[in-house]
Symmetry: C2
Subunit: 237 residues, 2 copies
Amino acid sequence: MRYRLWYWPTIQGRGEFVRLAFEAAGIAYDDCARIEGAEAMLADLETRAATGRGPYAPPYLALDGHAIAQVANILQFLGQQHDLAPSGLADRSWLNQVQLTIADLVAEVHNVHHPVAMMDYYDHQKPEAARAAAQFREERLPKFLDHFEAAARQGSGDWLFDHRWSYGDTSLFQIVEGLRYMFPQRMATLEPRYPALVRLHDAVADLPGIRAYCASERRLPFNTDGIFRHYPELDAA
Amino acid sequence: MRYRLWYWPTIQGRGEFVRLAFEAAGIAYDDCARIEGAEAMLADLETRAATGRGPYAPPYLALDGHAIAQVANILQFLGQQHDLAPSGLADRSWLNQVQLTIADLVAEVHNVHHPVAMMDYYDHQKPEAARAAAQFREERLPKFLDHFEAAARQGSGDWLFDHRWSYGDTSLFQIVEGLRYMFPQRMATLEPRYPALVRLHDAVADLPGIRAYCASERRLPFNTDGIFRHYPELDAA
C-alpha cells in the first residue's frame, strides 16, 4: 500500500514534516498534488468538507474512508503505525508536545512575513513584517531554540529518544534547515549556542533516506512562497 | 488523586480548555497557580526546563515524574484516561484534528491584538491590530466557523461523537464564548449561519459540571489580558 499525501505541490511548507518522516523511514507514498495538480487537491478538499470531517487545510493523508490532517496528528498516526515514535505513554506524550511546539514556531515564522494579513501578499505588509521580524529574531527565536537545544541535550546519542530517530528528530532537522534559509545572518550568530540541536540536525541529514531525498528532485527547494522565506531585509546578525 | 494544573492565575487563556474538560467531567484538580501564585509556576517551569523535558509554556499538568504540556496533548491524555474521547482510531484522530484546528484559531485570535510584537503591549501596535482584525473578521473567522459548523452538523445529537460530550465539545463551547466576548458585533452578524455550532455550545453550557463552574468564582471572567480580548475598535458587524 502507498500512502496518499495531499499538500501544495510547489512548496515545502507544513507538508515537508510529513514528507521527511516518509522519506527517512522508506515508506512508500504519493505526493498527490505533485502528480494530479493543486486543482485536484482543492476539489478533493471540497468533497471532504461536505462530509463535515474534512481537513481545515493541507497537508492531509487520504486513507480508506477518512482523512487525517494537522501535521502533529499525521505524524502521531504514522509514528504509531510504523514505529517512528517511542512506545511508553510519557515518551509519546512528550514527543507530541515537541511536535506541537514546533507547530507553534512554524506559525510564528509565518506570522513574521504575514503579520497583519495572512491572506494578502508580503509586499503589502513590509513595514509591519520588519517590526515582527525584529522581535522574532531577538526574543522569540532564541527562546524556541533554547527549548529545542535542551530537548536535544537530554536525548540519547544523537536522537531525542531511545538511540534511534523518531519523527521529532526529522521535524527538528527541518526547523534548522528552514531557519538557516530564512535567517542566515541571525542563525550564524545563534548556532554556536546550540551544539546538540546542530548535532541532531546533522545526524538526520546523514540518514540514508534523508540523504537520498535531499539529493533528489522530490525535495523542493526553499522559496518565497513557503513558510520559511528568505527576505534579506528581515534578517540581521 | 487530584490533578495539578499549572496556568496563569488571572486569565482564561489556553488553560481554560483544560479547566473546562475537568469541570465537565467532575475530575478533581488544583489550579496550582491560583493557590500558590504565578511566581511558584515560573519557578516550577525553570526547574522542569533544566531537565530538557520542560513545557515550552503553560498550561501543563504536573504528573509523577513528568509534565504534559500543550493543550491538545493534555486533552488527548485526559481523554484517554477518563473516557472523554471516542475509542476508535479514526474518531480519536479526527477529534485531535478538531482540537488542533481550534489551537490554530486561538493563535490567530491572539495575533489579532499582537500582530507585530507578541511580547509587547497592544497599545504599541494598535494600527497594525486594526488591520489584522479587519482581515480576521472578514476572511479567517467565517472560514473557521464554517469548518466547525460542518463538524457540529455531522455529529450525533448535540455532540461531535457518540451521543455524548467529548473534550472537543467543551473546546468548541469556549471558542463560541470567547468570540462572543471579543467580537460581539461580528458574532451577532455571523451566528445565524451556524445553528449546529450554537446548539452544541448551548448543550455544553447546560452540562451540570459546566453550569456549576460558570456560576462559580473558579470561572474567571474574560478580560483584556487573555487570548480573547474585547477592544471595541477591533469589532464591527
